[in-house]
């Protein structure tokens, strides 16, 4: 048991401040009552309420009181510590008090916003404040831990978001490792022909950026690679990158594609992933003409030599740069970086899960992404929109919200589908002159130039039918439905069920988290929101930060968004990273654990518990020892040390017991340390 005097600590003089937060707190918590109650608690020297504690005058109030009354503990009851703990610690420190003598009580998120009854809310606030008052008695001054920031950055995902972030940071003179899983960067955007709402050519705006990435002296591009492992903490991460074998030496290949021509397969035979299986490729291939890097790769599953070792290997003969190496194995690169941007994008909803629309059953039902490839001049049909029979459709139906805004699939609006459906409607009309029907639930076109784009489409004679499509069927009920796909829908504007026969159906599939999003999330120690997109630290104020310092997110991995928004987020993430780098160092919470050597019995119970192997057994003293630099402050070992010999700063046993007692019954702490706590000292 410690006494305040015994610890060499001052007798607490607590300053208590309760924030109205405008009406956010004051309308549900009787701020005045809490303030008066707290004033009566032992150790409390000053108790005040104020409209906005986090404002400058609010902070100055604290600082003035510290100086005037010699306060040595500060308790602020306001919003969540996740929001303003830092603010108040800084304020405390500026007034010359160690910032860890500050403690925050959350009476907004935890009380006023979640309670419906003022009396109950006030009582709850009082309990929480009492706990905090009792807790701060046991606070100790702590030294801040500062660690340097390694200026190198890892970016995961080479879609438009990753590309933009990489270029921004590299242009600022910092080193970037861009790791892309696929053989080429570009992400989804590389698949499109045109982009809404301006209809500028996707390749024209993306390809220059892709080659800029490739050629930038500050960017190391590792395509066809994945992160195997990451460990460390903000400023000091260490990652292992697995570079999957392409069986082609990247440094030697110039992308002349002679090998592809020379392949023993005269005809391409295997489904081409980039074209979503709508065309064929050879076992040696390049995803698309502008692929970056311009390096071919082998598909070992289809290459004869990989299967039987009996191929003539005409490809190797054809390569005058000796770039082909069929014995290549995965390579592992270890890098040290200080921060990470995750820009792993999205995947589209699998239309097979909406069987009523016949995808996979009717050859002429396509997904929007397939159509993007089809309208693309370098796509499987060289830009022609054709039915499976190879004919130009006379009529096309575009079904919006497939897999979006639906309790049975995904509840959210995928945000870009209305707009890309309009774009596709325009392109289809342009390419085929067909009648195009858009079936929508609501038309969502907020954004600069977006509504105007919609207007333009209406004037182009595209039909708009409001209603969620019930089904797509080949069961003809009338002559004009013969050999067609009939779209059955309730036109909610007119209130009738309509049947519209078309030659081709396009399903505007929604955006979803990638399949491996939760693996990536775990690896990088961040959270996902309910749908599975990466969770931002704060939806408004920290939209590209995560709860793990030094890990940022950008683009569609955070939630459905279009290219302009993805780029904007990428820029924001780059700015966050640069601000970390420019600061050079970062303060870490000093909430690490330490073992009191004198007390430790060397029982070794704690050693296997630490996830960071921060605890080791010192052979000379036969005691356990925590390497503070490795400890991240989870407190698991503290809870488990059977002899109570480990202490966690900021979360000491006494502090927690103080909170418990404070919440339940204020046992009161004797200030002079003479009564409950200090008996042992007086005696003797």
């Amino acid at each position: 048991m410690s006494t305040f005097n015994g610890n060499g600590q001052s007798i607490p003089k607590i300053g208590f401040y309760i924030c109205h937060c405008g009406h956010n707190i004051a309308s549900m918590v009787d701020v005045d009552k809490v303030q008066k109650y707290t004033a009566s608690l032992p150790g409390v020297t000053v108790s005040r309420d104020y409209k906005y504690m986090c404002s400058d005058p609010g902070q100055e109030l604290i600082q003035k009181d510290i100086k005037e009354f010699g306060l040595n503990r500060i308790v602020v009851a306001s919003c969540s510590p996740l929001l303003h703990e830092h603010t108040f610690r800084v304020a405390t420190e500026k007034a010359g008090l160690n910032p860890y003598f500050f403690h925050m009580v959350n009476i907004r998120e935890n009380v006023s916003w979640v309670t419906g009854d003022k009396e109950a809310a006030t009582d709850k606030a009082i309990d929480l404040v009492r706990a905090a008052i009792q807790r701060v008695f046991f606070h100790k001054p702590l030294v801040k831990k500062e660690v340097p920031i390694n200026p190198d950055v890892l970016i995961l995902g080479g879609g438009i978001a990753g590309i933009h972030a990489a270029l921004t940071i590299a242009n600022a003179g910092k080193k970037v490792y861009l790791v892309e899983r696929e053989p080429t960067i570009g992400g989804h955007m590389a698949m499109f022909d045109k982009t809404f709402p301006t209809l500028d050519c996707a390749a024209c705006i993306l390809t220059p950026k892709m080659s800029a990435v490739k050629n930038h002296p500050n960017i190391t591009l590792w395509s066809y690679s994945e992160v195997e492992k990451i460990e460390g903490f903000v400023g000091n991460y260490r990652a292992t990158i697995k570079r999957k074998p392409r069986y082609v030496i990247e440094e030697l290949c110039v992308g002349c594609m002679d090998c592809i021509d020379a392949c023993i397969y005269k005809e391409a035979k295997y489904p081409d992933e980039f074209n979503l299986g709508m065309s064929k490729r050879k076992p040696i291939y390049i995803p698309f003409p502008q692929a970056t890097p311009q390096v071919v790769l082998f598909d070992p599953d289809t290459c004869i030599d990989f299967k039987s070792h009996r191929c003539k290997k005409t490809c190797i003969e054809a390569c005058d740069r000796d770039a082909i190496d069929l014995k290549q194995t995965a390579k592992y690169e270890e890098i040290n970086i200080g921060s990470v941007i995750l820009a792993t994008g999205f995947k589209t909803y699998d239309a097979k899960f909406a069987p009523q629309y016949g995808y996979g059953r009717f050859p002429n039902v396509f997904t929007s992404l397939e159509l993007e490839r089809m309208v693309n001049a370098s796509g499987p049909t060289s830009g022609e929109v054709l039915t499976k029979e190879g004919k130009k459709p006379k009529s096309v139906g575009i079904v919006h919200c497939v897999g979006s805004r639906d309790e049975k699939s995904n509840k959210w609006c995928s945000k870009v589908c209305c707009m890309y459906s309009l774009k596709l409607a325009h392109l289809i009309k342009e390419h085929t002159g067909a009648e195009v029907y858009n079936f929508y639930i609501d038309m969502r076109t907020p954004g600069k130039g977006y509504e105007e784009f919609y207007d333009k489409l209406m004037n182009e004679g595209v039909h708009f039918i409001r209603g969620r499509v019930a089904e797509v069927t080949d069961w003809a009920l009338a002559a004009e439905e013969e050999n067609k796909l009939t779209i059955r829908v309730e036109d909610t504007l007119v209130g009738v069920v309509r049947r519209i026969p078309v030659d081709m159906v396009v399903l505007s599939v929604g955006l979803e988290p990638r399949e491996d999003a939760s693996d990536v999330r775990r690896m990088f120690n961040i959270s996902c929101s309910n749908e599975g997109f990466f969770l931002e630290r704060h939806p408004k104020l920290a939209p590209v930060s995560t709860f793990t310092d030094g890990i940022f997110i950008a683009g569609a991995c955070q939630g459905p968004k279009d290219i302009p928004d993805s780029v904007a987020q990428a820029g924001a993430a780059a700015a966050e990273v640069l601000s970390l780098i420019c600061a050079g160092t970062i303060e870490l919470e000093p909430n690490t654990a330490s073992i009191t050597e004198e007390f430790c019995s060397g029982c070794k119970s704690c050693i296997p518990l630490c996830p960071y192997s921060a605890i080791s057994f010192k052979e000379d003293t036969k005691k356990a020892y925590i390497n503070e630099a490795l400890c991240k402050g989870c407190g698991t070992c503290v809870a488990a040390c059977p002899s109570g010999s480990i202490i966690q700063n900021l979360f000491e046993d006494e502090q927690i017991f103080g909170e418990i007692e404070g919440l339940l019954r204020f046992a009161g702490i004797d200030l002079a340390g003479s009564e409950t706590k200090g008996k042992e000292l007086e005696h003797a």
Binding site: M1, C603, S605, S643, G644, E680, A684
Partner: protein, 324 residues
């Protein structure tokens, strides 16, 4: 010749082992007897309560009181002795933490009485006679101590100055304690007169404990032929050593039996059972509830295992039940 300091011994709910441990001082007892006057020691010398009552308050330098407190008579004696003694030492696990008698706190008084006076196989009590605190027989009033519904530690009844832990305390610790008392250099009040680190510190098998121990199974001493050299936990035996104060010099371990915790927790721990539970469970290998439960099934009596001596001093103190 100056008067020799007065020392007393007393016993409450205990087995007599603590008294035995005083005798175990062997030759040293002569040293003690030389240095002090033993003014009250019911087990060895014939004194009456009234003898104590007539002493002046605070006239005994120190009393070593062993045993937990269960009856009103024990409470009364504890108070009397407290008043007469300058220093009161809770002697042995029972006075310190309740000890074995405090395992009764897992039951209600009525359950205990019913078993003792009716259900026990050796009892025949067709008239359902139970002891009563006050019995009025014509003009005669006979009183018996009241059997309380809770077993208490000594410091839950009276103020205690020091604790001498162990079931029983070792002669070495007793001797040290007496020497300390005589020297006049008293440690802070509330001190447990034993080292403040855990038993592993002085365990001869410490070296053999692996640094990456995790538990897949637990076993019990009668179920295996245990290796006499190897850390008992590493053999799957629940050893309380890591959560128990050192000072016994690993007596049980040297007898190839796991520590059962009689020295109580270190000063930094409030609930010995909770802490050993926390430590052992954290290191269980299994990750799913089913698999974890399977391993835990191998600890058939967790309260009896983790709180063998400490139930009365534990945070919950007693099973929560209706009867008062």
């Amino acid at each position: 010749m100056p008067e020799k300091p007065k020392i007393a011994f007393y016993w409450c709910a205990s087995c007599g082992g603590c008294e035995e441990s005083v005798v175990d001082l062997a030759e040293d007892i002569l040293m003690v007897a030389d240095a002090v006057d033993i003014v009250f020691w019911p087990v060895a010398m014939d004194f009456k309560k009234t003898d104590v009552e007539t002493m002046e308050d605070g006239s005994i330098l120190a009393t070593m009181l062993n045993g937990a407190i269960r009856t009103s008579e024990q409470e009364e004696m504890a108070r009397l002795i407290r008043r007469k003694s300058k220093i009161l030492i809770a002697y042995g696990s029972c006075a310190h933490m309740g000890g074995i008698p405090a395992l009764a706190n897992e039951f209600e008084r009525s359950e205990i009485l019913k078993y003792a006076y009716e259900d026990a196989p050796s009892v025949i009590n067709s008239q359902h006679t139970y002891p009563e605190a006050v019995y009025q027989d014509k003009s005669r009033k006979i009183t018996l101590p009241v059997f309380r519904n809770i077993v208490r530690t000594l410091d839950q009844v009276v103020d205690v100055d020091y604790y001498l832990p162990g079931c029983p305390p070792t002669p070495k610790l007793l001797k040290q304690a007496v020497l300390t008392l005589l020297s006049g250099k008293l440690p802070p009040k509330g001190t447990v007169l034993a080292p403040d680190s855990a038993l592993c510190e002085e365990c001869p098998r410490k070296e053999s404990k692996p640094a990456d121990l995790s538990f897949e199974h637990f076993t019990r001493p009668h179920m295996i032929l245990s290796d006499p050299e190897k850390c008992l936990l590493a053999q799957g035996l629940i050893c309380m050593g890591p959560a128990t104060r050192a000072g016994c010099e690993a007596l049980c371990i040297n007898g190839n039996m796991p520590c059962s915790g009689c020295f109580g927790p270190t000063s930094r721990v409030k609930d010995q059972g909770a802490k050993i539970l926390s430590s052992i469970c954290s290191n269980i290998e299994a990750k799913t509830e089913i698999a974890i439960d399977r391993v835990l099934d191998e600890i058939p009596d967790p309260v009896g295992t983790f709180y063998r001596y400490g139930l009365a001093a534990s945070m919950l103190r007693k099973k929560i039940a209706e009867e008062v």
